[in-house]
């Protein structure tokens, strides 16, 4: 075997090789951004900055279980805090502090389900049950108190209600909230996002 002998020219060539190859690859992997790329990055940054707390609203009329899954995924991806709220609407025939055991029990079940959904996605869910005369006002108040950045709601049981297809409570929340509102309308209730004639045609073409 020959002797090991490092020369200055050899060392310089070795360094030059590493620098030129790594510099070339670095330049290649950082291309200029297009208008679409810049817009996408801006939207992403805005989303990251703004979504601190996500509030998922439930009530006897607002069914948000399926949206809870979406909310948990979002919260995990955006590292947001997740708050599930169940509003028990107190009728005007009862005092505001009236005991409503059955409703409370049902609310507990819903909140427990919300927590399980959150855990399945590795997100801790804070839950709160509120008694209020108006569901919409309760959600808006809590969103204000918690400085929520996003309110997520599911469908309204009376989706076909004339004059307020999404349900009056949902419409009021959407109209008056000071943050973004995401409404998930289930296909079988919401005719706005679901074109039955096309679905039927698609089904027939499959057959």
């Amino acid at each position: 075997m020959n002797e090991l002998h490092v020369t200055a020219a050899g060392a310089a060539a070795a360094i030059l090789t590493v620098l030129s190859i790594s510099g070339t690859l670095y330049w290649m992997l950082h291309p200029p951004k297009s208008r679409a790329d810049i817009a996408a990055v801006k939207a992403e940054r805005l989303l990251k900055e703004s979504f601190g707390t996500v509030l998922v609203a439930f009530s006897s009329e607002i069914r948000s279980e399926h949206m809870m899954v979406l909310a948990a995924r979002l919260a995990r991806g955006l590292n947001s805090e997740l708050l599930a709220l169940y509003v028990i609407e107190v009728p005007f025939t009862l005092p505001t502090n009236a005991v409503m055991e059955d409703e409370d029990r049902f609310a507990l079940d819903v909140m427990a389900s919300a927590e399980v959904i959150g855990k399945r996605f590795g997100v801790d869910v804070r839950t709160e049950i509120v008694h209020h005369r108006h569901t919409s006002q309760a959600v808006l108040d809590l969103a204000k108190r918690e400085r929520a950045d996003l309110i997520i709601m599911g469908s309204y049981r009376e989706g076909t209600y004339t004059g307020a297809p999404l349900g009056r409570e949902i419409e009021e929340i959407a109209a008056n909230a000071k943050c973004d509102v995401l409404i998930g309308v289930e296909g079988k209730h919401g005719t706005l996002l679901y074109d039955e004639t096309q679905a039927e045609a698609a089904l027939q073409s499959k057959v």
Binding site: M1, N2, H5, G10, T17, I21, T24, M28, L29, P31
Partner: protein
């Protein structure tokens, strides 16, 4: 509605190649070339190996810049064949495509040969050594070609992700070999001595230059993937230029290191019992097809590991390149038959596997025939394949330069996000155009190499033109039967096609620019077919 859904899905699939993916498409092809070319060039150019690589490298930079501009401006599958067809018409487009097809079939055989060569460097597999066991060597290569053909028919082909992974490891490994080689074994005075004592005659130098060009062939793979690249007009210039630089750095560094390397192990005497320098040993017939592995083995300490790892890795990279030959040849034939340059039989896909089975079978058979011819050359079989490879590349690249100049003059409206530097402003048919000076220089360089190939490669100068003649006969029969012009072009609306190409590529800003220019020239221009 349903058609919209289909369009949406297709667009998502099409634009899925990232910058690294685009780079690795090219690298999987060109990256392996140095493993093949180094031994061949040292074998003929001796002490001027680095000069041969430098001259070929300068031409290659011009070729690379031309491909970069064209692929960014016309991001469609087909590469050189498409550019030439668009710039110079159907007949010359066919010639360019047919020359590239020669390269891709040679690709299959040459890289399969190199793959077996590198494997034979492993002590346990030295039974595959071509000089010691030619018959075993031949059958293993033939089996590899058949295996790749079957794999491609059933649809198994290298994915971009796998290419990306192998390319990343290869860039790292080749850099590591160079860094450790330069650090521990390089002696500048030995480099000068090798250049002085081993300087070849003019004929050998020309031969070396024409062989050195094969270490740069394959850049067009980036343009073949252009249609599937995300934002091709922006990404392809980056990936192409990076590939040009990487390969140039490797080629120059390896050739200089080979000439100035003090090997860790003593150099064996040659067959006649004479003492030889390390580069003599690298360029000897028994080492030509595994030169990089021999170099790596002779680096102190690292060589112990490299003895096992570099042959296996080199063989893997060469096998992928060989596979890209199978895939590329069938794809180019498919594209050519779509433009009515080849019979529609090459468009046919297998009913079950949905792959162009006839194209694969035809071009793998041609690769096997080339292997038989190469094997008949005995110890010069590897060089024979190198000769043909150089001919195909030089012929195709020569036409690409002419096409670039023609497209600058005929199609000045197409937005070019990347322009070759050094342009001359002039007017042509009432339009202001930029005449590319580098394209003229590149044309002269590559044309000179084509002449070198014809002058210095005895077999290449017969087999190469024969291949072109064979293709022209097929082309003529097909075009006459289809009642299409033989030397003219089939009618096409290139402007409308170009708008559609940019739209499909997601280059909406460039599409707007082109539509604006077309409407300014012709207010009745519409994107839709009337």
């Amino acid at each position: 509605m349903s058609s919209e859904i289909v369009t949406g899905e297709r667009q998502e699939l099409r634009r899925s190649v990232t910058p690294w993916g685009s780079y690795s498409w090219g690298y999987a092809d060109v990256g392996a070339d140095i493993f093949v070319a180094l031994g061949l060039v040292i074998g003929v150019a001796g002490g001027a190996t680095n000069i041969a690589f430098l001259f070929a490298g300068l031409v290659y930079v011009a070729v690379g810049l031309a491909y970069t501009e064209l692929a960014a401006a016309y991001p469609v599958a087909g590469g050189g064949q498409y550019f030439v067809m668009r710039g110079l018409g159907d007949f010359l487009g066919f010639i360019a495509g047919w020359a590239v097809l020669l390269d891709f079939t040679i690709d299959i055989t040459l890289f399969a040969w190199g793959c077996v060569g590198y494997l034979s460097h492993l002590p346990v597999l030295n039974v595959l050594d071509a000089s010691a066991h030619p018959l075993a060597h031949f059958w293993v290569i033939l089996a590899l070609i058949a295996g790749l053909a079957v794999l491609n028919v059933i649809g198994v082909r290298e994915s971009t992700a796998f290419n990306g992974f192998v390319s990343a490891i290869d860039v790292f490994s080749e850099t590591l070999i160079l860094v450790l080689g330069f650090l521990f074994t390089f002696h500048p005075e030995l480099l000068i001595h090798s250049m002085q004592s081993g300087w070849p005659n003019t004929f050998q130098l020309m031969n070396g230059i024409s062989l050195a060009i094969i270490s740069f062939v394959g850049l067009e793979s980036i343009s073949h993937a252009a249609e599937e690249t995300n934002r091709p007009a922006s990404i392809i210039p980056r990936t192409s230029i990076s590939l040009i630089l990487t390969i140039l750095i490797f080629a120059l560094a390896y050739s200089n290191l080979a000439l100035g390397m003090q090997p860790w192990h003593p150099v064996p005497h040659d067959a006649a019992g004479h003492a030889q320098q390390f580069w003599h040993y690298l360029g000897a017939v028994q080492n030509q097809d595994k030169a990089v592995a021999v170099m790596a083995t002779n680096i102190p300490y690292f060589g112990l590991l490299a003895a096992f790892y570099v042959p296996v890795f080199g063989a893997t990279l060469l096998l992928i390149s060989s596979n890209s030959g199978v895939f590329g040849s069938s794809r180019i034939a498919y594209a050519m038959s779509q433009f009515q340059l080849l019979p529609s039989i090459f468009k046919r896909v297998h009913r079950k596997f949905k792959t162009p089975v006839i194209s694969i079978a035809v071009f793998c058979t041609l690769a096997a025939i080339e292997l038989v011819f190469a094997a008949l050359q005995g110890n010069f079989g590897y060089e024979f394949l190198g000769d043909l490879y150089a001919f195909g590349a030089a012929a195709s690249y020569t036409l690409v330069f002419v096409a670039l100049i023609a497209l600058r003059l005929k199609d000045p409206l197409t937005p070019r996000k990347f322009l070759i530097p050094l342009n001359l402003k002039m007017r042509f048919k009432g339009e202001e155009v930029l005449f590319p000076i580098v394209a003229v220089i590149g044309f002269l360089g590559i044309f000179a190499i084509l002449i070198f190939v014809l002058l210095t490669h005895h077999i290449g100068r017969i087999a190469g033109p024969s291949w072109l003649l064979f293709g022209i006969v097929i082309y003529a029969i097909y075009r006459l039967r289809k009642k299409l012009p033989l030397f003219g072009s089939a009618p096409r609306n290139w402007n409308r096609d170009q708008v559609q190409i940019l739209k499909n590529a997601g280059e909406l800003e460039l599409m707007d620019e082109l539509v604006g220019k077309l409407k300014a020239r012709d207010p009745n221009f519409t994107m839709r077919t009337p």
